[in-house]
């Protein structure tokens, strides 16, 4: 009979033998696996041809990922340690909040794991893009993307909007206040965020009553029907919500642009700005009562 520690030693030995030989941080990784929908998208944007091997299944889900079509070109993983192990990557990229047990296990097995925290501002998107570029040995591509983003931000900020107050009203009454990526996007679009006026920081609850009484000029919702029915969507059918969102006052803002930070996040800012400008024509006769 083999004692417990001995067996563990043997297993570790076997695993070590199976793991890729040339793990060295200095070299450019050749076989990269990403396990988080946000790192997936950054890696897809930056990686060289053939460098990225696998992304998470969420990256191919059009309701969470802005690059769902691109993701179909890669092998999809589910963030399971066994699965990642058999892919023999020389670099694993993960988020700091998801698949924690897998990350710990992979590190113990000697894999190089790079972790990325979710971005809470456009500034952090820039930082993370550059860091990802460095890790993948694609600094030039990263710099180009950041420059394109900055140009787009400048274009958005140059638009002169009359004062429009926006309420972000997501399923179950969630809204985004100061210190969130979405709030940053609202600012770039040149709109006022109701949540910030109400003193909500981070992700918070906005009650339907408070929303009705605040009567924002514009309400951004994600009411896309392709996710299947749920109570969360019933809020959008509530007579009180319908009364205040009638006409041009609500705008569909797909979550896939705002869940993760990236150049595509600015598409969300563009959508909001466009809706606010459409509003301009009808604004005078809908003053706050």
């Amino acid at each position: 009979m083999i004692s417990g520690w001995c067996r563990r030693f043997l297993v570790a030995g076997l695993l070590w033998a199976a793991s890729p030989a040339g793990i060295s941080a200095a070299e450019t990784p050749r076989r990269v696996v990403s396990m988080n929908v946000c790192t997936d998208q950054m890696a897809m944007l930056l990686a060289d041809k053939g460098q990225l091997y696998s992304v998470s299944y969420l990256a191919a889900d059009a309701s969470t990922s802005a690059l769902a079509d691109d993701a179909k070109r890669y092998v999809l993983n589910h963030g399971l340690a066994e699965e990642i192990f058999l892919m023999k990557p020389d670099l694993v990229i993960a988020g700091t909040y998801t698949t924690r047990t897998t990350v710990d296990l992979l590190k113990r097995l000697g894999f190089v794991v790079e972790e990325f925290a979710p971005e809470v501002s456009i500034a952090e998107v820039r930082t993370n893009l550059r860091r990802m570029g460095k890790i993948l040995g694609r600094q030039q591509r990263a710099d180009a993307l950041v420059a394109a983003m900055d140009a787009e931000i400048a274009r958005l900020q140059a638009m002169n909007l009359s004062e429009v107050e926006l309420a972000l009203y997501y399923a179950n009454g969630f809204t985004f206040g100061s210190g969130t990526l979405v709030a940053d996007i609202v600012g770039i679009a040149g709109l006022e965020n109701l949540a910030e006026r109400l003193g909500i920081s981070g992700t918070g609850k906005l009650s339907l009553e408070a929303l009705v009484l605040a009567r924002p000029d514009l309400i951004a919702v994600d009411a896309s029907p392709d996710r299947g029915p749920a109570l969360a969507r019933q809020t959008f059918d509530h007579p009180a919500f319908r009364a205040i969102s009638a006409g041009h006052r609500s705008v569909q803002l797909d979550s896939r642009y705002t869940i993760c930070g990236g150049p595509f996040t600015l598409i969300a800012a563009g959508i909001l700005q466009q809706a606010a400008m459409t509003l301009g024509g009808v604004k005078p006769d809908m003053g706050k009562r």
Partner: protein, 333 residues
Amino acid sequence: MTETARYRLLIAVLAMVVALLFVLSLTVGPAEVAPLQGLSALFADDDSLIGLVMREIRLPRAILGLMIGATLGLSGAALQGYLRNPLAEPGLIGVSASASLGAVIAIYTGLSALMPLALPLMALAGALCAVLVVRLMAGADARPLSVILAGVAVSTFAGAMTSLALNLSPNPFAAMEIMFWMLGSLTDRSMIHVWLAAPFMVFGWLMLASLGRALDALTLGHETAASMGVDMRRVQRLAVIGTAASVGAATAVAGAIGFVGLIVPHLLRPLVGARPSRLLLASALGGATLLLAADILVRVVAPGRDLKLGVLTAVVGAPFFLVLVLRARRQMA
């Protein structure tokens, strides 16, 4: 004071408390609306924002609180009398959980979006199955233990199936909504929900209320009741369908709220004398009192947190249940 006079006084007091809590419920909410301004906006015929909040958000919430509370109190009293079991209650015998399952299937398959009536009907069907299974398992003598054991099996099964249905839904929010279906809430319900559920609840109330005389006779035992001319098959039909219709509709719009039907009849039984027929109306009013109070408390204690109603009723109800079990054990010893 005669027993009848005392009963009438009790009903009058309970009715007044319900009316008071109903008005109080209208004045409590996350939005800061001055109570008098809100109440006058309720009746004003303009389309002000405060009027919108009062009419479309707070009024349906108060109406549903009252009606669902009454449903749970009444059905608890009726079930306890019918099964001659002090622990019978829609939550404990799995009726609420099964109604939740029916409602969940209706909503998350998209059926209720095609046909709104599918929601209360499916919940009713779920509730009906639960009552029938428990009735069947309990046997003719309806021993307390077998009723409760059957109830545990039914509610565990229905709860698991509800979780399964929600986990299988492609909508990422569905899984979070398990909480709503297991614990119940009246947050942001609308008049649509009131119109959907109220007819079924009232229909169920009428059936349960007509049981009064039969329940009185049943206190003397099955055979005696039958010899007194009580049609046991009719009683069974009324109790089963009445409970399923009212509790099913209540659960379809507010989720499963436990313990109300257990606590209220027990608290009121000593006050009405041991007459199940009198307990029915008193329990309906008592249930409305308890649920309106609980719904006001969830908004006052933790505003903005969307505390679930079932949490509050369980905080009061679970210790109460334990006391009942202890008392029953002492009686058996």
